[in-house]
Amino acid sequence: MFMSVELMLNSVNFLLVGYSNFLKSVDGQIFALMIMAVAAAEVVVGLAIILTIFRTRHDMDVDHIDVLKG
């Protein structure tokens, strides 16, 4: 599931770099760098959340995470 998010962010990166090449500007590549940084931070926090859930519940099924209680 998290890998699909990475796929989507990579596709946006690719689009940005393609258009920066087409329009001959560097802004697209800088935005791609920012998106890479944001994606790295998001992956880190998401995996920490998954680890915490796995520690308390020992159950990795995404369908069982449906109640907002501790």
Binding site: S4, F14, G18, D27, Q29, M34, V45, L47, L51
Partner: protein, 184 residues
């Protein structure tokens, strides 16, 4: 009689081939039986994207993609998968193994082609600051833009990374111990 540039045609063909490999690798991410294989296919997808960045004259972004994305983020993914223990759901067939080898060999060939055919060429002659800055997409050009016009997003991203690091430490620390102390 239309005339075409042979180098352009080769570049377009190689872009198409690398793009096709990236799409196949991303299909492998979704359709795989074990989480480790999905992560490895995702690494292959990211390397294909880095080759595409090389073909699009963005060398710095390609290097950052390999170092940061494929090198740090995916290794973190693999650590977590190894820690949590994803199991293989179905047994793989020998045909799948040969597909993996074919994918790796194809990507190595595409790496060679993307580095030689595309507009990313090794700079000959003197490493002058003028010749380096002319090639837009190099580290100097991105540095010039990043630290002058896009300074505020740059600082905000550094703050964001700090917040992410602090958040992860909080998540890792506050799972067990303070709750037990408060119950007393």
């Amino acid at each position: 009689m239309f005339e075409f540039d042979l180098l352009e045609l080769t570049r377009e063909t190689i872009t198409l081939a690398v793009g096709l490999t990236a799409v196949l690798a991303s299909l492998g991410v979704i359709l795989c039986s074990s989480p480790v294989y999905c992560a490895l296919y995702l690494i292959g997808n990211m390397i294909c994207l880095a080759l595409l960045f090389l073909l699009y004259n963005a060398e710095f972004v390609a290097a950052v993609q390999i170092i940061v994305y494929a090198g740090a983020v995916m290794i973190l993914f693999l650590f977590i998968i190894a820690l949590l223990g994803g199991k293989k759901e179905i047994q793989e067939s020998p045909a799948q193994r040969s597909i993996v080898f074919a994918l790796i060999i194809t990507m190595l060939g595409e790496l060679y082609l993307a580095a030689t055919v595309g507009p990313t060429k090794p700079l000959e002659g003197v490493f002058d600051s003028k010749t380096v800055a002319e090639v837009g997409g190099s580290a100097k050009a991105i540095g010039l833009e990043l630290f002058s016009r896009h300074l505020i997003p740059f600082e905000l991203v550094s703050g964001l990374l700090l917040v992410a690091a602090v958040g992860v430490i909080c998540l890792a620390k506050f799972s067990y111990v303070p709750l037990r102390r408060r119950v007393k």
